[in-house]
Amino acid sequence: MDFLNAVVAITNLLIIPATTYGAQLALGALGVTLIYSILRFSNFAHGDTMAFGTVVTIGITTLFQSWGISLGPLPTALLALPFAVAITAVLLVGTDFAIYRFYRKKRAVPIIFVMASLGVMFVMNGLIRFMAGVKDQTFDDGTRFIIKARDFKNWSGLDEALALRTTQVLTLVVAIAIVAWLFWFLNKTRTGKSMRAFSDNEDLALLSGINPNRVVMVTWVIVAMLATTAGVLYGLDKAYSPYTYFQLLLPTFAAAIVGGLGNPLGAIVGGFVVSFSEVMVTYVWKKVAIYLLPEALEPNGLLQLMSTEYKFAVSFAILVVVLLFKPTGLFKGQSV
């Protein structure tokens, strides 16, 4: 019984939340990594792209709700998602057309692109606030829980609760589906292959007749899909607020770099490394220890490795260590 309690406590407070957050980060990091490998710059506007996609989704969701359309137990936002992806894609392609294309023609160095994306970030920052204001918004309808904490306690008779939200399962399912599709697309389709060729060697790709404008456009459309999906899943699971989405940029980049910038597989692993390290290092193991250890050995302290203030230090420490020993990240990406 004690063993089960310990397992449930760890699952409920550590494994489930960290997995969900990791999946959300992974989707964000995939977008960052894709832009880095194909367009060759770090896109600082990525957090705000996620926010833009989410704002549009919220708008369409509200419209659908007013028409009485819903998905039953699933959130209506899922239905709005494809439309929001399309609108976000238009914005991103438009941004590229208006700004990045100019620098590409001049063959500007990557740092110029990064600075331009910083400007785009600030503009989008204002744009989303104009569109949806500054307040928190929740747009999760449908059934909130698959397993409720109290129901689980009654059912199992354990002291520890276990809760599982619909959005947590949804996040994982959607993330897996999108990642599977992305890998199939990059490895099996003609467009995907030309994107990889463009990423490996731009000049050779151009010589072999690949249309660069098409590659760039497809990249932005895929990035729009990844960013909007990541933003919406995150917003469904927690809440939408412009400030938080802006702040998501940091862990997203940490995930992409730890995994190896430019490597899609690395971005996914990086997302989980960041989320799990944040939760595990600051976890209070006292309760688990009490369940598992004999009474004589029960701890008096909290058994916490590091206080929660330092959770960001943890992911950055991992970042530094990885970059010291493997400058290209855990998986072979480009060095930064």
């Binding site: 407070l13 929660t308 960001f312």
Partner: protein, 391 residues
């Protein structure tokens, strides 16, 4: 080009002429950043007092008051300092703000004190601001958290709560409040199982919730902001079944709390600065185009009113002159002044009389310029926030 230059020069002249009978007040609040959802009501509250004074035509022989808004960002001391310096450059006669304790301290020390500018904050509550060297230039219409910590500890002890988990926002406000609460509560024999900091606006709070839940406690005290972090932690705690009952200090008290959590937080308690003085209801009913019950909206009205009444009492808009009069217009003796009566107060002062601003919060300044502090204790029943008592 010549025409343009001439036009600009003419505009400057007109602007210069207009400024002779107008007084500019800086309104520096975090219009972006972690409390961006609270600040619109706060600014509106302050600007309501300014509009009232302008409309009365009684300020120093008919001067009008022009608010100039700047963004304090709440968290970025460098940005807030730069914004405050812009205010000085634009020739303000006083600064209303700032909001969060950290940036307020930064503006006070880097801008207000060197430039001899009066600052009245409606919401900076860190105990550290009581002892800072301010040359008598700094006032606040919100009480210090040294007091709130004690009030909160007393409340919990009276309800028979023997142990709590505590999480606070990693800022001057959160740290100051958490320390004063922990000291008071432990002094009364209570146990704080864990004191865990959280940062604003981060993507994920699973780590904090996991740590808090594992440490345990009868209630979770969330000394944070409802918009950022604090609200997320409450949501995650409820979802994971980690805590059922909470205690919320002022940063968490807002319409967003019952609106977001509904009946999930029934039975929880909280407190925020507030009083049962009749001025509060008057202020709420006078509030037009904004929510007068918004957190710190009433303190904001009083803060702006204090600056303007002090100017009238001093007969000058020079901060170094009127700073001496802020306490006297706030405190007894004098004719009590309710919200909406600022015009009358200006008349009394012009005639050489004395006023005692009751305002929206019943403001009384003690300890060198901070509000004495009465608190509104709230509880949650059936998904509604209701006032339990005042203390």
């Amino acid at each position: 080009m010549k025409k343009l230059l001439l036009a600009t020069a003419a505009t400057a002249l007109v602007a210069g002429a207009a400024s002779a009978d107008e007084v500019k007040l800086g309104v520096i609040l975090g219009f972006t950043g972690p409390i961006e959802s609270l600040t619109p009501d706060m600014a509106a509250g302050a600007e309501m007092a300014m509009a009232e004074v302008s409309a009365s035509g009684n300020l120093l022989g008919g001067m009008t008051v022009t608010p100039i808004r700047k963004d304090s960002t709440c968290v970025d001391a460098a940005a807030a300092t730069a914004a405050a310096e812009e205010l000085i450059a634009e020739g303000v006669a006083g600064i209303f703000g700032a909001d969060c304790s950290g940036v307020t301290g930064a503006i006070l020390q880097n801008v207000a004190v060197p430039n001899g500018m009066v600052m009245v904050s409606p919401s900076a509550t860190s105990p550290g601001l009581s002892t800072v060297e301010d040359n008598g230039l700094f006032f606040r219409t919100a009480p210090s958290d040294a007091r709130q910590g004690v009030v909160m500890a007393e409340l919990l002890k009276e309800q028979g709560v023997g142990s709590v988990a505590l999480t606070y926002i990693n800022s001057d406000y959160g740290k100051g409040l958490a320390d004063s609460f922990q000291a008071a509560y432990e002094g009364m024999g209570g146990t704080v199982t864990i004191s865990a900091a959280h940062d604003v606006g981060k993507g994920d709070y699973s780590a904090e919730v996991a740590a808090l839940s594992s440490a345990g406690g009868e209630r979770l005290v969330v000394a944070g902001y409802v918009d950022q972090g604090g609200g997320d932690i409450v949501r995650a705690s409820i979802d994971a079944g980690a805590f059922d009952l909470f205690h919320f200090p002022d940063g968490m008290i807002g319409d967003a709390l019952p609106a977001t959590f509904g009946a999930d937080i029934d039975g929880s308690y909280g407190q925020a600065p507030g009083s049962d003085n009749p001025g509060y209801q008057t202020f709420v009913s006078l509030a037009e185009g904004f929510n007068g019950e918004g957190t710190y909206a009433s303190e904001s009205y009083d803060a702006a009113a204090l600056i303007l009444l002090a100017m009238q009492a001093a007969g000058s808009t020079d901060p170094n002159v009127y700073k001496e009069y802020v306490e006297s217009v706030a405190n007894a003796p004098g004719e009590p002044i309710m919200p909406g009566e600022l015009g009358k107060a200006l008349e009394i002062l012009a005639a050489g009389g004395d006023v005692d601003l009751i305002g929206a919060t019943g403001v009384e300044l003690v300890n060198g310029g901070e509000a004495a502090g009465s608190y509104r204790v709230v509880t949650f029943e059936g998904g509604e926030m209701v006032t339990a008592e005042y203390r």
